[in-house]
Symmetry: C2
Subunit: 314 residues, 2 copies
């Protein structure tokens, strides 16, 4: 799947992932109204509104980008009904040819870590039968528990040819509280990055490893350093746009041939119609507004890469 993702990034010339993090405030009233008319102002109604919203976004952007990244928290807040919308969204995106990165930040040890991996990337065995449940292609994983927490995911990845992105340096303001602490002169995130590179060596695709890393766009210097620490690691980069990361900040996250990173934007895309810039689309045109925002984002990033003299991929 890492080879599929890398190939899709090259083909679309769009190192971009759209974050499907639907808050109800992002969803146009007419969609909510229809969903609530059918199911009431209930968790099921919320799930239906999210699903209809996501479907429309996917329909408008699927041909431009390699992947989507649904943030499971936004679904889990609506309980079972929300998680059904997550599952449905993931399946629909895959049906449209998109790679699905489940932003789940799961972590545990031993059999519990295996269970998460099975539920999200693999198949659960029940008697004679095996079932995919959430069936993402990649998931994000939190490394605080060390190798014991990550290896069980890697085993399922090996079997299923799927991948993970391990949190290394996150995009939020307080990420440095623990991640930047110096250990023998080296920040913790770098130590985690070294481990990611080591884990990744055991699970290589053609160019990049099945073990990727999350590194926030809001920390360009750290990204530059981590790019060197993890040369064969695909970086999933949140924090562009709404969180303050710019395209110029991102150039060093990429390798010379403009591979090696995939940049996420969530509300900047899915709630584009709420921005002045895309207001003309109106709430009815929220899907088209998202498409316009994706096109602008791709141009913005490629422009910065041109500027930085990073060669186009063939």
């Amino acid at each position: 799947m890492i080879n599929v993702l890398t190939e899709k990034i090259r083909r679309t010339k769009a190192p971009v992932v759209v974050g499907l993090d639907p808050m109800l405030t992002f969803i146009p009233d007419y969609i909510k109204k229809a969903a609530f008319a059918e199911y009431g102002e209930t968790l099921k109604g919320a799930g239906e509104a999210i699903w209809q919203f996501n479907k429309e976004i996917i329909n408008h952007v699927y041909d431009l980008i390699p992947a989507v990244k649904p943030q499971i928290a936004m679904y889990e807040q609506f309980g079972i009904e929300g998680l059904m919308a997550f599952q449905r969204t993931a399946a629909y995106a895959k049906g449209k040819g998109l790679v699905v990165i489940g932003d789940i930040k799961r972590n545990d040890i031993g059999s519990s870590s295996s269970a998460y991996a099975v539920g999200h990337l693999g198949q659960a065995q029940v008697g004679e039968n095996a079932f995919y449940s959430f069936a993402e292609d990649f998931v994000t994983v939190n490394p605080y528990l060390g190798t014991d927490g990550v290896k069980p995911f890697m085993e399922v990845c090996k079997k299923e040819k799927k991948g993970i992105f391990v949190l290394v340096k996150t995009s939020n303001p307080s990420s440095g509280e623990f991640q930047d602490q110096l250990i023998d002169g080296k920040p913790l995130y770098e130590l985690v990055g070294e481990k990611v590179a080591e884990w990744g060596d055991d699970l290589m695709g053609a160019e990049y490893s099945y073990v990727g890393a999350v590194v926030g766009a809001t920390y360009p210097e750290q990204g530059k350093q981590l790019r060197k620490v993890m040369p064969r690691t695909l970086l999933l980069v949140p924090g562009y746009g709404a969180q303050g990361g710019t395209a110029a900040d991102l150039v060093h996250f990429f390798n010379g041939d403009r591979t090696g990173a995939i940049v996420n934007s969530s509300r900047g895309i899915i709630a584009a119609y709420q921005q002045d810039k895309y207001a003309d689309y109106g709430s009815d045109g929220f899907g088209a507004a998202s498409r316009a925002a994706v096109i602008d984002m791709i141009a913005d990033i490629n422009g910065a890469l041109d500027e930085a003299g990073k060669g186009r991929t063939s």
Copy 2:
């Protein structure tokens, strides 16, 4: 809820939590057979088997202990149907007067962290209505993202009078890879412990804070140190029994009046009937075997506390 939990620990004289981490291999064949007869060897069949198993365990132990800790990974592996069994288990345990600690190790930032908190501890707003979904009393939280990740949970806790346990020093063999790294001579877990104490000061119950900490029984020296770093923090202690922690290892996790810690055992209790020691109960008597194992565990821990001269609670 921290006051309820502390009071329950005192009243039961059992600083013990039973981990409801049902693997299908723990579940007696006759329960699986009945579930599969009704729903087939499907995810729904697995969910039904788990639910019937948990119910029987809860029925046999609820009067002895203050709390249960379902590990959500074990449910999530069976997708939506598994999570329905999780929800049902949590509700049933609460109905039996137990405090429910959701072992979910969630973590994110900003609105995503809030969404997890809402889904597990609070209420999701849909139009005019608000709904509890998974409705645990406490959840575990991973601190790698720093204050931005934890504060949104604390806000929901404040509103709902619920609590969290932050991972500080986990029980697994590789927990030291990152957690033990020295920062100015002080291990990372201690730095995290200091933050937990600081966060906890903002959210105090009568004796202990709504912000608790996870500290593994397998690291007694670290537990002793962390007890001092976080004097008003309730410690949730995994790793007793199957993972190798003994009662003698645990005494320093407690304060002098034998409060301040709650020790988890999962497979040691719920799969007790599979141990030689409790084999006489047979698989039909798995609930009674669990009860016997709980009684033995309480006696074991209280015995060690007696030995260490920690005063009985009144």
